[in-house]
């Protein structure tokens, strides 16, 4: 056979013009890590200001810019692109496809991200400062009362939305059309399943977000009154639209994390996932429910009581499929032969902390109790348990688990374990006390607080610095692995790992599955 499959191009051109899913996956992962560091820096500024009562480092207006950008950068810049990067690397390798279905669009969907975030970050240097209305940007604070930079924010959101929609269409097209012969839907790895469902959620709700920001643009510049009562509109309309996007959005973030955990826990338990089919159905149920629970973010806006009851009952229901998932992972571990390499440690950390976040989520679903929890640090603690310990921990697990396959080199296990324990302890010191201050009455998004909250806030800040510092160790470990890690050559890097990605050589060649694989008995 002639060598018509050339390897990667050289120089910057390789990255600018690449249509290779592995290259694009790598760029997504590095980009999201850079955003993780940027968003983390904003978080450090927030926690430094909150270290003690009184204003010390920043002004209240700038503090609000930090909370806003922290949320936006972490959600849209760090977590979402990181899972898209993972999908790019893994989905073709897991379903036996040579690449993504739409490789040129794949290139484009990545390359519009950096300009989008550049535009968002540039607002920091504009007159009036960056957006300062929270990542939920409620009108009219985000419309007629916002700094002029809000227009750049709106265009940045549009760009990120376009990127997400293109990425999702690509994933749907790939999964539907490019599975190896014999790989039926119910034989796909769970990571592929969770991403397929996530992609449908994205295609459904990103246009809604685009609609919301377009209405903001109209209200600001073209004299409409979508969100102003004075012109016949309604500020609460904004919240309904935002959360119709926003609630599915949180499942967009967590479903791929469920997929990762469902791959890793069986590998290190050396035992198949307990209930594959029920996991698929639970994922689909969660996705469906995510569309009919949005107003549980709005219990205090003054909805009619029938509305409150509907959204309360629907929200409580989510506990059922989520419970099914947690029970499944634990039953998978039961009577397995467990070992605790770094990916497994992060998955167990995920399991414990995500479950705690699920419990506080159930508490928050109870509308009358939510009147006391709403917009306090209790909510901040809740969503960091599911976002950080849920999404970020599972993403970290994924990097440790697949890095040897990607790079052909093994990371330093001791350093990985140290990273896990510092992260785990730092995370809990940061966020566990926030449950207490929230219940005791501390609102979120305030730059200064009453004296009775001082001790726990100081504790939170110390924890945050520890957690933040542990990410430098992560970066070092990954770089050291890529540059000088011990070489691994086994196709199957982990003895318990299952799936097509472990049947190709290590490191994964630039092109894989140019000929569709034959599924052996274990996969067929």
């Amino acid at each position: 056979m002639g060598d018509h499959h050339h390897g990667p191009a050289t120089g910057i051109g390789r990255w600018l013009f690449t249509t290779n899913h592995k290259d694009i996956g790598t760029m997504y992962l590095w980009f999201s890590f850079a955003m993780f560091i940027l968003g983390g820096t904003f978080a450090m500024i927030i926690r430094a200001e909150l270290f003690q009562p009184g204003m010390q480092l920043v002004e209240p207006g700038f503090f609000n810019q930090m909370t806003t950008l922290h949320g936006l950068v972490m959600v849209f810049g760090a977590i979402m692109p990181s899972f898209v990067g993972l999908a790019n690397w893994l989905i073709p390798m897991m379903i036996g496809a040579p690449d993504m279905a739409l490789p040129r669009m794949n290139n484009w969907s990545f390359w519009i991200l950096p300009p989008g975030f550049l535009m968002l970050a540039s607002t920091l240097f504009m007159e009036g400062g960056a957006p300062a209305f929270g990542w939920t940007f409620y009108a009219p604070l985000s419309t007629t009362y916002a700094a002029p930079s809000v227009t750049f924010f709106i265009f940045a959101i549009h760009i990120l939305g376009v990127s997400s929609i293109m990425g999702s269409i690509n994933i749907i097209a790939t999964v539907m059309n490019m599975r190896a012969p014999g790989m039926t839907y119910m034989k796909m790895p769970l990571f592929v399943w969770t991403w397929l469902i996530t992609a449908f959620l994205l295609v459904a709700v990103m246009p809604v977000l685009a609609g919301a920001v377009t209405m903001m643009l109209m209200d600001i510049h073209f004299g409409t009154s979508f969100f102003s009562a004075a012109g016949g509109g309604d500020p609460v309309l904004f919240q309904h639209i935002f959360w119709f996007f926003g609630h599915p959005e949180v499942y967009i973030i967590i479903l791929p994390a469920f997929g990762v955990v469902s791959q890793i826990i069986p590998a290190f338990s050396r035992k198949p996932l307990f209930g594959y089919a029920s996991m698929v159905y639970a994922t689909a149920s969660i996705a469906f429910l995510s569309f009919i629970v949005w107003a549980h973010h709005m219990y205090t806006v003054g909805m009619p009581v029938a509305g409150e009851l509907f959204f309360m009952y629907a929200t409580m229901l989510i506990a059922v499929p989520t419970g099914v998932k947690v029970f499944n992972w634990i039953t998978t571990m039961w009577r397995g032969a467990l070992s605790f390499e770094t990916p497994m440690l992060f998955c167990i950390g995920f399991l414990v902390l995500f479950t705690i976040g699920g419990f506080t989520g159930l508490m928050l679903s109870i509308a009358p109790a939510d009147f006391q929890y709403h917009d306090t640090y209790f909510v901040v603690a809740h969503f960091h348990y599911v976002m950080v310990a849920g999404a970020v921990f599972s993403m970290t697990a994924a990097v440790y688990y697949w890095l040897p396959k990607w790079s052909g080199r093994m990371y330093n296990e001791t350093m990985g374990k140290v990273h896990f324990w510092i992260s785990f302890v730092g995370f809990n010191i940061t966020f566990f006390p926030q449950h207490f201050v929230g219940l005791a009455g501390m609102p979120r998004r305030i730059p200064d607080y009453a004296l009775q909250f001082a001790d726990f806030n100081m504790m939170s800040s110390i924890g945050a610095f520890i957690y933040g510092a542990s990410q430098i160790l992560f970066l070092y470990n990954v770089l050291a692995t890529i540059i000088a890690g011990e070489k691994v050559t086994d196709d199957k890097v982990w003895d318990g790992a299952e799936g097509l990605e472990w049947t190709i050589p290590t490191p994964a060649p630039y092109h894989t599955f140019e000929v569709p694989p034959k599924l052996d008995a274990a996969h067929a």
Partner: protein
């Protein structure tokens, strides 16, 4: 509620643990001083205990597995998977538990929404960054006032010792009688705010252009403190809510004094003041109302600079217009309804003569009144 009491004491014991570790820091929700607050607290504890019990079970199984099913102990992994019986059980049982939670939650929610038969109506309006309280009277003689943060800038910027109620103190608290069903009509003047007092378990968003209803009936006299809980701009963290719950007699006496005070203010507006009087009064008003946005030295910030500004040095009528009517679409509010004519005259005079704006202009309360009439 016997069940509630038993549960509460069980919980006190549970809560004693972290409390012992964290000294005087409050670690849990307060049952507060209303029956609704106590019900919400019981609901909160019920759900939390159920979660803790489930959590102990789930994590117990997990940690048993982590300890006893380790590869390093030489165990051979079992290969079992799928069991319809188990899967049906762990779907149905949680569903039944949820129904058990939904019943008390529904009944409490219906009580929270029962706004009927209020004995006193108070209109609460959120402004950037203060609250206005207006006692609605059937005769139309409403009593209203603004409630501003009373914590001095020196405490916030750490040049002075912080007081006991740092950031949770106001110049004029809301006063309401105990054992009286008080209905709050909540709205906002600019952006969305949220009015929250944890100990009376009332939190409701204040939405410009719409009026939300909620209520309370406080059973114990006392001072209860809360804060705005919806991000409303730069000084969101600086608009506390303070409620004084007093006996009916005290409340009536306070209301009479308040009405007399309003009458006195009307009389004061007819009297001319000296430049010195206007300047000292104006400084106090400036520090309470303008400083947050326009700076301690009039240097600006969220708002434009006042020192050397074209408005403060220019036409008095334009200056009065900005103060009284605000600037639409910006954080500069219409202060005409917030300040009485004396305070408005004083602060305009102050702005025109302080920070090096030595215009020498003197604006009297009567000037403000005639300007308002056009």
């Amino acid at each position: 509620m016997v069940g509630g009491n038993v549960m509460r004491s069980a919980l006190m014991a549970l809560m004693a643990l972290p409390a012992a570790a964290f000294g005087d820091n409050q670690v849990n929700m307060s049952p507060g001083v209303t029956t609704i607050g106590a019900e919400i607290y019981d609901l909160h504890m019920l759900i939390m205990i159920i979660c803790v019990v489930i959590g102990i079970g789930v994590f117990g199984v997990m940690f048993y597995s982590i300890i006893y099913h380790r590869k390093s102990r030489g165990v051979v992994p079992s290969q079992f998977h799928e069991s319809t019986k188990v899967e049906v059980a762990w779907t149905v049982v949680p569903f039944l538990i949820l129904i058990g939670m939904a019943v008390p939650a529904t009944s409490t929610l219906l009580e929270v929404y029962d706004n009927d038969d209020a004995e006193l109506d108070i209109l609460v309006t959120g402004y950037q960054w203060k609250w206005k309280y207006e006692y609605l009277d059937e005769s139309g003689e409403n009593v209203s006032f603004f409630s501003n943060l009373a914590t001095p800038q020196e405490e916030i910027y750490n040049t002075d010792q912080k007081g006991e109620h740092y950031l949770l103190e106001v110049d004029e608290p809301l006063v309401i009688p105990v054992d009286t069903k008080v209905r709050f009509l909540i709205t906002a003047n600019d952006v969305i705010h949220s009015w929250w007092v944890p100990e009376i378990a009332v939190k409701r968003d204040a939405i410009p252009g719409f009026i939300n209803e909620t209520w309370t009936k406080i059973t114990e006299e006392g001072i209860y403190r809360g804060q705005c809980t919806e991000l409303c701009g730069a000084y969101h963290g600086f608009m506390p809510v303070v409620v004084h719950a007093v006996s009916r007699e005290e409340f009536d006496a306070w209301m009479d004094a308040k009405r007399a005070d309003e009458a006195a203010q009307v009389a004061a507006a007819a009297v001319d003041l000296s430049l010195d009087e206007l300047m000292s009064k104006g400084e106090a008003v400036y520090n309470a109302q303008c400083l947050a946005c326009h700076g301690a030295q009039g240097e600006g910030g969220v708002g434009n600079a006042i020192a050397g500004s074209a408005i403060a040095l220019g036409d008095i009528g334009t200056h009065l217009d900005v103060g009284i009517k605000g600037v639409a679409g910006t954080a500069m509010q219409a202060f005409g309804g917030q300040l009485n004519d004396v305070d408005m005259a004083a602060v305009i005079t102050y702005q025109r003569n302080a920070f090096g704006n030595n215009t020498g202009d003197v604006i009297q309360p009567s000037d403000v009144a005639s300007h308002k009439q056009g």
